[in-house]
Symmetry: C2
Subunit: 353 residues, 2 copies
Amino acid sequence: MIFSYNHLFTFTEAVFRSIGCPEADATTATEALLAADLRGIDSHGVARLIGYVRLWEAGRINPTPRVGVVYETPSTAVVDGDGGLGLVVAPKAMQVALEKARIAGTGWVSVKNSNHFGIAGYHAMKSLAHDMIGIAMTNASPLVAPTHSLDRLLGTNPIAVAIPAGEQPDFVADFATTTAANGKLEILQRKQQPAPTGWIQDAQGQSSTNPNELKDGGALLPLGGETGSHKGYCLGSVVDIFSAVLSGANYGPWVPPFVAFLQPPADPVGQGIGHFFGAMRVDAFRPATEFKAHMDNWISTFRQARAVDGQQVLIPGDPEREMAAERLLGGIPLLETVVQDLETVGRKFGVHL
Amino acid sequence: MIFSYNHLFTFTEAVFRSIGCPEADATTATEALLAADLRGIDSHGVARLIGYVRLWEAGRINPTPRVGVVYETPSTAVVDGDGGLGLVVAPKAMQVALEKARIAGTGWVSVKNSNHFGIAGYHAMKSLAHDMIGIAMTNASPLVAPTHSLDRLLGTNPIAVAIPAGEQPDFVADFATTTAANGKLEILQRKQQPAPTGWIQDAQGQSSTNPNELKDGGALLPLGGETGSHKGYCLGSVVDIFSAVLSGANYGPWVPPFVAFLQPPADPVGQGIGHFFGAMRVDAFRPATEFKAHMDNWISTFRQARAVDGQQVLIPGDPEREMAAERLLGGIPLLETVVQDLETVGRKFGVHL
């Protein structure tokens, strides 16, 4: 079933209003959430709306958070999300990073006491209109085993980096620090198809292609898979430490789960989940026009590389940008089960899908 | 053959003096270069001394560079390496990052007109004594094909992140953004053993296990290998852009080669190779004692994870730190061919190995 962006926007905004979000926050959260659907990262978009609502029902989302800076220097801040939606907290924290960068050249904000913030790329891209490089990362509940570990200690901990170009479309990298994002595994589970080698291990730490392995004590593998997972382990660790040890959020196995039916650990080491944002003015390094002309050259050089037969060398962000253009015009397709979930949520609040 | 650290230090310092480095720079360069041998990254250590000497003979190393800041804001700078040894330029640039961080909370330095700087981890670790997080990256000559590309457009572009702990040893991640570092491939070439799948592609972009493939138009694969190289491609690209497009160095296919027998591209888009350094005071986010206590907890939690039979969960930096302790006491083993190269260099300058 296909829905227009505007239709889903009105519905989602009404749902966020219904759980008590102030009007401006409901709009902010909706824009952040639907950015995932527009960009084709269906696992992180409106399909998760019911999850946020259930967390609110469980008393684990504060719909009226007082989000604020609790510690700062000229180029840094720690933001306390006050238990709010990550979809509301993250844009405010990124705004702090952008303001710091305006004055100090760069701005770096670590966030505690937040919740899932949707897709990292959306937040990083807020820098682009200001001729800044944007960086966004977040920790997440533990599904990933460090190299040689049987225990799951890290989340899929994504990193996004957005870099402005001139004539060319901007460079936007956004990726989980695992071989495969959890969303891709969910698709295989639904289709009951095996996963490629290097995505998952079983409860004994052995290679597995069973997409349901995580339910039986298995784990996702860090980026690099079976021959180089120590590098993905390094990356995922850095995201965890920047997001949570710097801010005072929960880290490693203490990160609270997104799903309401699982309880957060009883012995937290911090508050909520953590994020980390960065903004760097490109003209804090060289004139912006010069930088952007070289980015154009970088991008066109890479895009014009000779490619393997039938393929094309893409620039990070190309597929998502094309998908967004397509879906803005042609609408957003939703799975039957997602539509049912939205209808369930709608009935709860008297909002019509 | 085994040499003591002090013996190699005296020899290497004398060689750098012989090519015209001022005394302080020769000491700086030697310490940076030998950090690789101490930490067990043999491909980047004294084995490369002859390579630096040949670059100097080819007129591509300035032994008396005027390294300086050419552009800055409170938290950023661009450093011009004036064609010097990366081993000299990088420590000076990292020093600028540390000084910026002392005042502004963080410091970020992009470097142009430099040469290879040894191992990234050494430079990142300069932050640790100041209770700062250190970041170091560099671009390098193109050996890596972006996803779907037949052309080699990126270097192995490493990233290092050093994070201070309290009682526990510090966290030091240092890794190439390829599945395998070039040094590991060189070892297989020497032994004439096949490479694991996912390390390299042939000239047609097909999977290969031939360790000599790069000589025949093949390429290294970005981190993630055959199922997820787009993520390593993103990472390597970010390193290239931060190191060179921000600073005005050469990027992508224009990065000059380390080996003197290959000429740099005739149409440079910038000056020399580029690096990028970052320093973040941990007390720009929360009190350092608090941060370090949580890092200790993070590290001991991960180290104590249940492990696959016969294995142990390591913390990034563990193997290199243990190797350094061992080699400081027991000496540094060098391959026969490396000893011969050093003797050749020694004879040239009347320096005895």
